[in-house]
Every structure is written in structure tokens, then in C-alpha cells.
Symmetry: C2
Subunit: 380 residues, 2 copies
């Protein structure tokens, strides 16, 4: 593990926990804002090198590449290789987005605070847009038909990077899907208190269902799950009824779930299911009210614009709205609360809370209804 020290000693650049020492161009910016990073495999004392086996491209980036090259696999592969070779990271220059990766820990610097051990299989929870990366194969195993890119190469984690060990007891696609939204249940758990009335907008989705499970665990007195239509409502009432056929047989790469988990009786994920358009403030607030609201805590997981007013209006004075949807408009929330004279705290959903991945994985282990919802979405 000390082989890497001389390399950084020679450069005279002290390692930065944020990876500033890896920024080549323009100097001084954060790695995410940089055009080019230094993916030198020699690690600083607080860094970790990972042997990469798969990139998971961000959906927007993958779509842009596929459309630009009209689905031509060779051109798409070259484009990705070219971006990584040029920039030292996989950040699509058009969309600005990245993705995440999985791999095996290869070398851990003696001062790394990440607690990783060589040989562990991990997923990075920070974006590829700030992760130094080298690809050494031709991506020949990637048919370019999905954003999952099997590959060979290495990546560097900084002291302040985030990575999670992939658990042995869960299928990798399920773990990745959970980790992708793991900030939401962790922050919900912090905010919800014993006896709180909680409304979850988009409760049948990935971040929504995990947030509902987190709220339950934090002692919520009542959980109101809001969904846009009857299909989602049925799913939320009983995630298993609608998928009885396929879910019993394990899909390729999916471990069979223990039958005991699936059959064990448990409290429902939500206490009230409300069908409403979250973009209609008065309609939503009225229905949440009828279902036992207003909410002390409203969790917004609907990936649609224009839900700020409804969330605010569904929340009791002194309550809190947590916005996890990336479609949230800062000014619509700020001005909406002012226009409604609503004394509510409004939190920007931070994707990072210490221990968030482990917390979310434990929730999915403990909550078969949420697991069933996830598996349904992964299969689709």
C-alpha cells in the first residue's frame, strides 16, 4: 500500500480530501467542474483505487449518446472511450451528467477514512462526473442497448468520496436501485418524529416507498401515501398481488427471495392511499386533509414540475416539507410558501446523509412490500 506514496511526493501537491490535487484543467476548480482530471493509478495516502467492472451511465447521458450516434454500437463505444480518455472521467460534455460505477477495491491508502478493504465489491455513490477513471478494454462486452457498461479499468476515490459495499444477500440490481435513492429515506428518518402525520407524494415509487418505510420506522402515527392513479394505488395497497406470476421465479441474476419474508404479515406501508394530482394544490391539500392531514412532514418524491404549492398547502403550520424531486423549482417553493403565508420549513433533499446506503439496504431487507415494489420496477 505504500507504493503509491512516492508518486504524490514527487508532484509536490498535497492530497486534498475533495480531490483538488487531481484537477488538471482548469486548475483550482472542484473535480466536478473540471474539464480534465488526472486518473493516475498511483494513489495518495487518503485515496482508494478501485478495479472497475461496470459503469452505470446516467439516463440523460446515455440517451444523448444513443441519439447522437443513431444507435450505432461502434460509434457509441468510441464516444464513451473518447470522453474518458480526454477528460479522465466519464462526464458527458453535452449533458454534463455522469452516473455511477461498481468494482472491487484494489488498494486502500493508509490515511483513507472510507473504511474499505481490498477485495470488497463496492458501488460509488458519488457521481462519475468527479471520479478519476481509466478504461483499459475496448468495451467489447457492451452491446450499447442499456446504460449498463461492462468494462475493465480503474477509478480513484478521494477521502470525501462515498462508496458502499455491495451486500452479499441482495441481488446487485436491487442494491444499486436502492443506493440510487438512499438519501431520501435517511433524511426522512431524521425529520420524522414519534407521532407525526406524514404525507409521501409519489409513495409507490422508489424513493417514495423507502421514505414511507423510514417514516414508519421513525414512529409516524399516520402515513398518507399519494399516488397519481388507480394502478399505482393498487400497487401501494398490495405490491405483490399484481405481479404474482413473474416474481415467484427468480429472474436471471436475481437471487430467490426467502419465502418467509414475502409471506410474513406486517403493517401496511402506508395507512391511507390517496389518488391525487400533486400539481393541483387545492385538490391535493383537500384530499390529504380528508385522509387525516395536514401533514407534519410532507415528503415530495414526484418527478414532475409544479408540486411545490400542493406540498406546502398539505403541510401543517410549523411542519416540514422535504423536496427530493429534481424537478423542484427553488423559486416556486420560496415564493409559493410566501404567497400562501405558510409557516413551513422547506428542506432541499441532500443526497448524502452518513450511513444512508446501509440504512436503506436494511429498510429493504425489513420491508417486503417495498422490496416487491422495487423488484417490480427493476423487471420492467
Amino acid at each position: 500500500m505504500t507504493t503509491s506514496l512516492p508518486a504524490w511526493g514527487r508532484t509536490q501537491t498535497p492530497a486534498s480530501p475533495l480531490g483538488l490535487h487531481r484537477v488538471l484543467d482548469p486548475p483550482g476548480v472542484l473535480p466536478q467542474a473540471a474539464w480534465r482530471l488526472d486518473p493516475n493509478p498511483a494513489i495518495a495516502p487518503d485515496e482508494v483505487r478501485v478495479r472497475v467492472d461496470r459503469l452505470n451511465l446516467d439516463a440523460a447521458s446515455y440517451r444523448q449518446l444513443r441519439e447522437t450516434y443513431a444507435g450505432d454500437p461502434d460509434k457509441i463505444r468510441s464516444a464513451v472511450l473518447d470522453i474518458i480518455a480526454t477528460r479522465g472521467k466519464m462526464q458527458n460534455p453535452v449533458t454534463g451528467s455522469g452516473g455511477m460505477l461498481t468494482g472491487t477495491v484494489e488498494e486502500v491508502g493508509p490515511a483513507s477514512p472510507l473504511g474499505l478493504q481490498p477485495g470488497q465489491r463496492i458501488a460509488t455513490l458519488v457521481s462519475l462526473t468527479l471520479t478519476p477513471l481509466v478504461i483499459t478494454d475496448s468495451l467489447y462486452r457492451w452491446d450499447t442497448k442499456s446504460e449498463q457498461v461492462p468494462c475493465e479499468g480503474h477509478a480513484i476515490l478521494f477521502a470525501r468520496s462515498i462508496a458502499a459495499v455491495l451486500p452479499d444477500d441482495l441481488p446487485v440490481p436491487l442494491s444499486l436501485a436502492v443506493m440510487d435513492v438512499c438519501g431520501a429515506p435517511a433524511l426522512t428518518s431524521r425529520v420524522v418524529y414519534e407521532g407525526a402525520v406524514v404525507a409521501v407524494l409519489g409513495a409507490a415509487g422508489k424513493s417514495g416507498s423507502l421514505s414511507a418505510a423510514a417514516a414508519r420506522q421513525s414512529g409516524a402515527a399516520k402515513i398518507i401515501g399519494v399516488v397519481p392513479n388507480e394502478v399505482e394505488a393498487a400497487l401501494l395497497r398490495n405490491p405483490r398481488t399484481t405481479q404474482d406470476g413473474g416474481a415467484e421465479g427468480p429472474a436471471t441474476g436475481v437471487l430467490p427471495r426467502p419465502a418467509t419474508d414475502l409471506r410474513a404479515p406486517q403493517s401496511p406501508l402506508v395507512d391511507e392511499v390517496v389518488i391525487a394530482d400533486a400539481r393541483d394544490p387545492v385538490g391535493l391539500a383537500t384530499k390529504v386533509q380528508e385522509a387525516g392531514g395536514p401533514a407534519d412532514v410532507t415528503v415530495v418524491c414526484v418527478d414532475a414540475a409544479g408540486c411545490e404549492g400542493g406540498a406546502i398547502l398539505s403541510t401543517a403550520p410549523g411542519g416540514t416539507v422535504i423536496f427530493f424531486s429534481m424537478a423542484t423549482s427553488f423559486s416556486a417553493a420560496a415564493l409559493g410558501a410566501e404567497g400562501l403565508a405558510a409557516d413551513v420549513s422547506m428542506l432541499i433533499g441532500n443526497g448524502y446523509v452518513p450511513g444512508h446506503a446501509e440504512f436503506a439496504l436494511n429498510l429493504i431487507r425489513a420491508t417486503p412490500t417495498v422490496r416487491a415494489l422495487f423488484e417490480r420496477r427493476i423487471e420492467q
Copy 2:
């Protein structure tokens, strides 16, 4: 005060605290989203009617009107009258924005929770975009050279509208300037605790200086004021040195300030003045660190895009960032915190906190340095 009851009784529409009963087109939306409101002067039991004497048009709306009509006073006056007559409110259909108004309380419904009395001079703190309004004069007193529109007419406040009584001891322009940003110090005061290190980005501005004063009152151990250049730094160090000439003589309509207030010794508004570009995350965080940071609470009052990363990086783990700038990007804040693995709470600055106007007016009375900063900006 009961003369108005029959009018609403006849319409069979129960009054809504949000003013839904005043929405004519399209039905069911919030007043702000409506194309047309009913400005009938007969008030519902929980409403208040105000005799309007002045509109303060939103800057964006005023600029659009002036540019569209090439500064022609007659055309600008007709355009404003036409908008108000058509929509029942002053919401510029191009910019979507409104403004605020001042006037005198004329009639208070018996069930109004606003605590107003007939004869009180008030300013509305909710936008004109949701306030039913009728103008009865030709705006002949408005020279259209400023966004201040002297006028005659009436406006309606709902149960959940916000209005503040204009104080007798402060000049109206000063009170209006304070009320315009009064949400910031109120929320800062809630978040800051005894012994906290507080960084205020944009500390020499209106919301920034009031937030610094609020942080001081809440017992902050150290206040770091961040400004973009030496001019603002000098202003923050001593707001009075640079304006000795003009400020001594009262401007038109501005009451003379009591000399005792101005001369009284007091603790400085901030403990450390830092000159930094808030859009440079590493540069900002380094300078805040050197000045005694990281901050437990960072208050963002810089009206420029791209300050999210710097604010997050200047904040200690477990700390809070309050974003008041309307230039804040929700996704930049959410993804920025995740990319930096920053365990910080991020609050959307809600412009409404109960009692915010009175709180801010008291701060300006008690803090001559902040008052001097405000008066400087009003005079410019």
C-alpha cells in the same frame, strides 16, 4: 362591518382563507395562478378591504412595461389600468410578476384573523399577483418614471394574506425596503443558536445585513461577513464613514433620524470581513476557514447564480445552509452536497415567518449600522 355579509351570502360561495372564492377564471386554481379575480368591494367575514394609495410594481414588470411602450407615459398608464381592469389584480401577463401596495385599512370583517384596525396605514407583504384590486383614478399622478404608482382604489386581503402596519417612527421607503426582505432575518433568527459560527454571504446587502443583525441577537459566537469587493468591505466595516455628507440631511419624505441612535457605540455588525467570490467554492471555503470557519450556519444572500457549492463547502458537518437568493438552483444545491459528501441541512428561504415584519423593523431600529446600510441603498 356587516354590510358586506349579504353579498357573499348571495353568491353561495363560502369564503376561503386562501381567497379561492375570488377566483373567477379558471375556477379551482389558487388566486396567484388565476387569470382573473373578483375584486368586489363587499368583503367576506374573514376579509379586509384596503383603500389603496400606492402600488409598488415589481422591478421586472415595470421594466417590461416601460420597454414595450418606449417610455410613453400615457401608454404605460393605460396598460396598467387595462391589466387591472381585465384581471382584477396587477399581475403583468408577460412577466407574471406583481409587486406590493400601501394603503389604509377601510373595513375589517368580523372573522378576519389579521388583527388590523380601520384607519391603520399598511403595506401588503403578499404579492399583487394574488390580491384583488380595483383602481378608480386615471393614475394621473404617476409620471411613470419610477415603479411607485400613486393611485386611488381598493384591494382585498384574505384571511391568509399578510400585511404589516407601517410604523410611525420610520420613513415609509425605509420600512418598505425592510419589509421586502423581512423573511431572511426571521428565519436566520430561528436557525442560529447561542455560540454558533455564522457566515453571511452578501453581508453588506439588505437581507444580508439584517440576517447578520439577527444572528447577533440570537447569540452567534462569531459572524463572518462575506462581500465581493473592497467597497462593500469598507461599507460593512463602517456604513457611516462613506456617506457622511448626504445622510445627515433628511431627504424628501424621510424623517430625520435621532442623532443618539447613530452615535451610540455598539458591537460591529460582523466580527470578520472576508472579501471573496462566492461562486468560487474552494476560494470561498478557504477564506471562511481562515476567518474562523467552517460555519455552523451559512446564510446565502448573494443574488448571483453558482453560490451553492461554496456555501456548502463553507459549512461544518451537521451545519445548516439557508438559501435566500432567488438565483439558487435546487439541483445544484442537492447534487452539490451529494458530490461533496457534505452532511449539511439545506433550507429554502421561506419569505414568510409569523411576525417577520415587526421583527425586522425592530432590528433596524436597534441596529444603526444596518439602518445606515439601508439608507445608503435607498438613496442610490
